[in-house]
Structures are given as structure tokens and as C-alpha cells.
């Protein structure tokens, strides 16, 4: 039985990783076709010399950071109030929060596109950031809420009774406890933003491309070693980030005495 389980795991892993492996291998292939010629770095060099990829890279980071920061602020402020709401008001605001979560990307994309054209907002960086904040904020709220619910409200009240200003009490009592939730929310927002293709596709202008849009327009013309190279770089970045955060997390867990 255990053997079958292991084989099944291996099959899944092979299917999950063979495309990625192929992608990485062929980013070092000097031929443009998928037959191996010789090892080369030339696609990586071309990548760094390609101005449209450079600008797509910067736009992706700008939109990611700005939208993550703004949606974290808006979401945190909202979550602090939602936790105090009861009854119909709370259900209404939660329903509002779930709308972007449950709508297909394509519907969010086109409806925002219609909004911007109706309001005569020119498409570009601004519309990208506005759209990303819109679909990020619900995730921020949902990652902060559980933390807030675990808080003991009496401690905050006690701080106020002892003469702390609301801002000071928030900084000293609430924020340290909910910080992990806030950071997770910001992190999710950032990754959602750099991962997004559909919403950005409808809400940008030509010349203002994110990496996703850039790859899409390149991939439509067929397989190219340049896309292989850029995908390899992104994949390695993700692996590095995840490894570092996981090593940190497991070290912290060990220090605190939790064993899984």
C-alpha cells in the first residue's frame, strides 16, 4: 500500500515539475527550436538588454508595491471597524467584501474597464493600481479578521481606562497581536498583484505592460527562449523567497517549542 502511495506521489510530482524543468533547461539552449544545441547565456543577456521587458518588470513591481500598501491600509482600517459591527450592517459589509472574491476575474476586468471609460480616466498606471487595490483589499480584510477576533477586547479598554489615547492603545495593544495577519495580508496582496493577468489585461494602455501582459503577448507568437529565460528567473526568485521564509518559520517554530 505504501508503495502505491509513493508511486502516486512521484507521478504527480513529475507531471507538476516536468514542464518547469523543461522550461529551465531550454532557457540555456542556443537554438531557438526545441532541439538541444549547446549551452548558452545569450537569452539572459538579451533579456537584460530588452527595454520592453525592463519596463514591464518595473511596472509590475510599482503596481505590486503601491497596491499592496494602499490595500493593506484601507483593509486594516476597515477590519478594525467590521469587528465592532453587529447584525445586518456586518453582513452587508461582508457580502460587499465577498463580491470581488467570488466574481470571475474577467468580469472584474471588464466592469472596471467600463467604469474608467465612463469616468474618462485614461488607461495606464493609475487604472492598473486602482484595479489591483480593488481586488486585493478583500483578501487583506479576510486575513486580518481572524486575528482581530482572537483579541481580548478588555485589554484595549483597560488601556483606555488607564489613560492611553486610542492611537497609543492601538499601537501598543492591538497592533502587536494582529501584526502577523496584517503582514500576511500585505504579502497576499503583493503576490496577487504580480500574478494578475486578466484584470490588468483589460485595464492598461499600450506601452504600460506588466510582466504577465508582456509574456502573454510574446507567447501568442509562439515559444521563445526569452520567455523561458524570464520564467526561469521568476521561478528561481520564488523558490528562494519560499525557502528563506520557510527556514525562518521552522526555526522560529522550533524556538517556540512547536513541533509538527
Amino acid at each position: 500500500m505504501n508503495k502505491i502511495k509513493k508511486i502516486y506521489l512521484w507521478i504527480i510530482m513529475i507531471i507538476l515539475y516536468s514542464p518547469i524543468l523543461v522550461l529551465i533547461v531550454f532557457s540555456f539552449n542556443s537554438s531557438k527550436s526545441t532541439s538541444w544545441q549547446e549551452f548558452t547565456f545569450k537569452w539572459y543577456i538579451q533579456l537584460f538588454e530588452n527595454p520592453s521587458i525592463q519596463s514591464a518588470f518595473s511596472y509590475t513591481l510599482i503596481v505590486g508595491f503601491v497596491s499592496a500598501i494602499i490595500s493593506t491600509i484601507i483593509g486594516l482600517m476597515a477590519a478594525l471597524t467590521i469587528i465592532k459591527l453587529r447584525g445586518i450592517k456586518r453582513r452587508l459589509i461582508m457580502a460587499l467584501t465577498y463580491i470581488p472574491l467570488l466574481s470571475p476575474d474577467i468580469v472584474i476586468g471588464i466592469s472596471l474597464m467600463m467604469l474608467y471609460s465612463t469616468l474618462n480616466i485614461p488607461f495606464g498606471l493609475i487604472t492598473l493600481i486602482l484595479s489591483h487595490i480593488t481586488f486585493n483589499t478583500p483578501y487583506v480584510i479576510l486575513s486580518i479578521m481572524p486575528r482581530l477576533m482572537q483579541l481580548n477586547p478588555n485589554v484595549y479598554e483597560a488601556a483606555l481606562d488607564l489613560g492611553a489615547t486610542p492611537v497609543y492603545a492601538f499601537k501598543k495593544i492591538i497592533l502587536p497581536d494582529i501584526l502577523p495577519g496584517v503582514l500576511t495580508g500585505a504579502f497576499i496582496a503583493f503576490t496577487l498583484s504580480i500574478d494578475d493577468f486578466v484584470v490588468s489585461f483589460f485595464n492598461t494602455a499600450s506601452g504600460v505592460n506588466t510582466l504577465s501582459i508582456q509574456i502573454y503577448s510574446m507567447a501568442r507568437r509562439g515559444v521563445s527562449p526569452e520567455i523561458n529565460a524570464i520564467s526561469t528567473l521568476i521561478f528561481l526568485t520564488i523558490v528562494t523567497i519560499l525557502t528563506v521564509t520557510n527556514i525562518r518559520a521552522s526555526r522560529k517554530a522550533k524556538l517556540e517549542g512547536y513541533f509538527y
Binding site: Y8, M13, L16, L23, K84, I106, V107, M114, L242
Partner: protein, 274 residues
Amino acid sequence: MSKRKYLITPYALWSIIFVIVPLFLLIIYSFTTTKDGKTVLSLESYMKFFDPLYVEVLLRSFRLAFITTIVCLVTAYPLAMILSSKEFSNKTIILILIILPMWMNSLMRTYAWMILLENKGIINNILSFFGLPTKQFLYDEGAIIFGMIYNFFPFMVLPIYNSISKIDISLIEASHDLGANKFTTFRKVIFPLSLPGVITGLIMVFMPSLTTFMITRLLGGGQVILIGNMIEEQFTRTNNWGFGSALSMILMAIILMSIIFFSKNESLDSGGLI
């Protein structure tokens, strides 16, 4: 305390402007049509949908999304069971390995299959190396289904894994003690308790497969049209917002109905969505 209420104002305003108003625009536009450069109210966009051509597209989208969802469920469930069985020591690593491709851009995941499935791609190279006839894999429904399964598979594994690993082990032991064999225990205890995760997984796979236009475009090469591609076309090429909005409304209605259908007695919150 009373001041804290105003903290929600930015979010409330934001949601009204960027969520509610766009939805209303969608509804309004879906009831309009453009005649001689003028936008007039009409039901034409909805009527147009009943053209057999478009009904066929919708049915095809449904079929592909359905196949994708079922294949994901059937393959992900055993994996989730394996992962939650306690004899695995390095299960964190395997979990990370399954999530890892999810962190890659969905475009890259789709594109990776283009390299493999291309006419002169790896799989055909391997086939011809062994003297087997090569085949055109790309640009048909099979390629699209494959791409969708690959893209959305982790969305099925994670929620199911979450709900199985939350099952109280003593329930399973009790079932064994009371004489149930493995299969009966699965049917009567494990499966019913994992249902919230299954439902979340079904929704999270079915919805993106029904609405994707990128996977269809890249792996189908414009040969296979799904409802997502039709909507995209109305907004980027033909500029027929009325028809595009009507299609989106129909899509939203279908998704809403399937969510209600899937989660009849289950609360979405308990499914480990977050």
C-alpha cells in the same frame, strides 16, 4: 470608540465606486445595444445569445470546465488523503512542492505546456526518437483541458487536504473499533467530513476553468472558442459592450447558481478557502 466607526469610510467608498458602480454598469450595458452609433435600451444582446452558435460555445465551455473539475477531484482526493496520513514525515516539503507551481504566474504554467506540446516540441521529439508517429497536441480541446487541469490542480488539493487533516482521528478509530472496514470508514466518516473542502475545491476549479480566455488562447491557438474568449473579443476587438456585458451577466448567473448548488448546506467559511 465612536471615532473608530469612521475608519471604514475609505473602504466603504472604495467598494461603492469600484465594486458596486461597475456591477451596475455591467447590468445597464447588458440591456443596451448600439444602433447607428447611438446606444439604445434593448434586449437584443440577450436574444442574440440564443443563436445556436453561442449556445454551442457555452455548452463547450461547460463541458471542458466540467471535465477539468472532475479530473482534478479524482486525482486530488487520493493525493490529499496521502498527504494527511500520519506516516508521512516529510509532508511539509511535499505540500510546499505542490503549492510551489501555484506561486508561478499562471501564464508561465500555461506557456510551459506549449513547449512540451508543440508540433516540434519535447513530447513529439521523444515520440519520433522512438520511431513513433508524432501527433499535433496543441490547438485542440485536449490541450486546453490539460492546461486547465495543470493550472488549477492545487486549488483542489489544498482545501481537501485542509478539511481531511482537521478530522478528529478518534472518529476514524471509533469507526474501526465498531467494526467498519476501511472502505466503510471512508464512505461513512472521512468523505462526509471532507465535503466542505471538496465543495470549496469544486468551486475554485470550476469557476476559473469556465471563465479563462488566456489558456484557450495560448493552448488552443484561437481554434477553440470558449465563453471567456467571446467576452474578451467583445471588449478588445468588436467593441460590442452590450453583448459582452450580457454574456458576462449570463456567466455570473451560472456561477452564482453553481455556487448555491454546490454549497447548499455548507458554509463557504468552513471550507478552508482562506
